[in-house]
Symmetry: none
Subunit: 401 residues, 2 copies
């Protein structure tokens, strides 16, 4: 029996409300040996009070030592084993710019490149043309027409764009066309499996028409395509858990990830306060609320220890408003660690806190990495967090008689 | 996606150096209830200082409650799930006496036995003939000649020996010939699968010629063969991790295990000091260094608590010389526990310490079983130690975008 089969068998409905606050990149490291992490440095009276009432632990996003990107990091928190459920690169890129993929879509990442008169790549990034310029080039590609297929081209940044093909019988098993070298021509799109034959032909026709349109461009007169992928098949929150789920996020990537598991995007918040406004407004319409807080990650990526501390304190100050809604289960966690010292995502386990009337207290006085190490959940795979959420909301029946 | 597929996908190269010191049988038990283990009794100022800077934990060699032999114990530490990757008995015995198996080899363990005039086994161990005597008998078997196959016979101890058949198309799936009883004849070698038909015939011919040669021996005039096995198929350290790996071990078994995963044997050290000399000498030629220290196990096997304490202190005194090489990741662990009180390997989790600049500190002041229990790695499967080693050496890329 897989974990998802178990979940479907045991999930029950009640009137409970579950809030999961994902502070992106929450976990950290001290700047100096034996020093304190960002979370340990921050003044967090509200989170500490929650730690006294709740149960804490350290979540391991994928496996010990494995650093996840945002995709696998969130899939784990949502209860989808990130080694089993994978989001192809093209699908993730489309998701990241807020393009909602449908069931008949195949997405690929595109790079504009410069071709010499012989059709060989002379610059793999088209001189990293500015985004404004690239956006105009992308607009021209709306003229591409392929029989039986709808084509969407969307700019990302500089030379990068996304293309989505929508039509019956498309398949993501198409090889990259990027030869990863200059002085050679882009590769033709080639099907890796017979099912992707038509998609490869569609992609080839797209490239042919595009290059005709771009022939006069000084820099972006060619393209390579990578990471062809359909929308991943993920059972929805409703199917798995019987939860009506809402997502309250500011950035497209996290909105997109939430949509992939069937969450409904709620509100148009731009700040944490506005996110909590949105939470309050839709409180009676949903059972589960995913609230994404980006800035603990971005400050970590910038190596801005003090700024990350301030962002954690901002999150802490928001807790009373959320608690005032009286969620049955309130979770604070992260999708991975982003220590300011490393200026990047890392593999270190993520401080995680769950507050519910059904918690077994673990004697902790604070919410921090070193406290969570002694917490009641111990160290656990992130994919098990939703099991704990459902259990503490009394939404699981008994397994076996 | 399997863990090894993940490792191959994420492994990156950099100039970092990883040292893994395996103190064989490191974990122990107190002699009396509420007493201290060997490691807790030992005076280990250097290891304790490392524990303050690094991250500790308890590694579980196979599964809770499972006591491993040296083979599975080391495979786990090297990152090969010991329930998936198995070393057949014959292959392990050959490895243990320093016989380097090739890809066309099948090895079996042999026992000399005494046959009565009717050809029935009267003594299953040939009166446990002394090793000196047995070695001479083994030498006579060099006269065996089998068409298309090279045969190697090597003494082990007393009545035990190893035979290796080398040739095209050999296969380890041959049943034991030991009837595990006296008063009956040894069984004929029988193929368990069609692919092993030729190997069974080769083994039968080997036994036939051997018994002719040994007919005049007073005790060792017969033999039984067990544990037929080819060299296991293990991806190498280079293939898996992209690591050039060196092994610095004194005993043949550990040299052999290291060779099975593609490590290069370095030096001819006989003492710990000489092992560290060898480490220093080859420092620039490798990325990963496996250093095996035998005596924490052998003193445990002898039930010599105080001697094991002294051996742990000897290891502690060696730390500064190793740290002076400035490894990026320095690990001290064991392949299993060998409590003096049990005079044998045991299943108890193994104290493990990893020191790197990228460690999240866990507040420990000492290196011991009871401290490791509160360590930052918690209790973890030994097969995940290499994931942590690679991560802390910044040798893994990010999983997913």
């Amino acid at each position: 029996m897989t974990e998802h089969e178990l979940v479907r068998e045991l999930a029950e409905k009640n009137g409970s409300k579950i809030v999961m606050i994902v502070a992106d990149g929450l976990g950290g490291l001290p700047l100096e040996p034996c020093g304190m992490t960002e979370l340990e440095t921050a003044n967090t009276p509200n989170l500490d009070a929650m730690a006294r009432r709740g149960t804490s632990g350290l979540s391991v996003p994928v496996l010990p030592g494995i650093t996840p990107g945002s995709g696998p990091g969130h899939l784990g928190l949502f209860g989808y084993d990130p080694l089993v459920f994978k989001i192809g690169r093209g699908a993730l890129e489309a998701t990241g710019i807020g393009f909602e993929l449908g069931p008949n879509d195949v997405a690929a990442r595109g790079n504009f490149c410069t071709l010499d008169p012989a059709g060989l790549i002379s610059d793999r990034r088209a001189g990293r043309i500015p985004s404004e310029e690239s956006f105009k080039v992308v607009e021209k590609l709306a003229a591409v027409k392929i029989a039986g297929v709808e084509t969407f081209v969307r700019p990302v940044k500089e030379h990068r764009f996304v293309v989505v093909f929508r039509g019956q019988g498309l398949d993501g098993a198409v090889a990259d066309t990027d030869p990863q070298a200059t002085g050679v021509a882009p590769l033709d799109p080639v099907a890796v499996t017979p099912a992707a034959q038509r998609t490869a032909e569609v992609a080839k026709e797209f490239v042919r028409q595009s290059q005709a349109i771009l022939a006069s461009q000084p820099k972006a007169n060619g393209m390579v395509l990578r990471g062809f992928a359909a929308k991943p098949h993920l059972p929805s929150y409703e199917q798995l858990y019987g939860l009506r789920a809402a997502a309250i996020a500011v950035y497209p990537m996290y909105k997109g990830l939430a949509q992939l598991v069937g969450m409904t995007l709620v509100g148009k918040a731009q700040s944490l306060d506005e996110q909590i406004d949105a939470l309050a407004q839709c409180w009676h319409d949903y059972d589960f609320f995913f609230l994404h807080f980006k800035y603990t990650d971005s400050t970590g990526e910038d190596g801005a220890f003090d700024q990350k501390v301030k962002r954690i304190e901002e999150l802490d100050r928001a807790m009373p408003r959320i608690e005032a809604l009286k969620p049955d289960v309130l979770i604070v966690t992260g999708d991975h660690s982003t220590p300011s010292r490393l200026k990047s995502h890392s593999w270190h386990p993520v401080p995680t806190l769950l507050v519910a009337d059904t918690c077994r207290p673990d004697g902790l006085e604070k919410f921090s990495e070193s406290d969570c190490l002694r917490g009641g959940f111990g160290q656990f795979p992130a994919k098990h967090l939703m099991l704990l959420a459902m259990a503490h909301a009394l939404r699981f029946g008994k397994y076996g008689a």
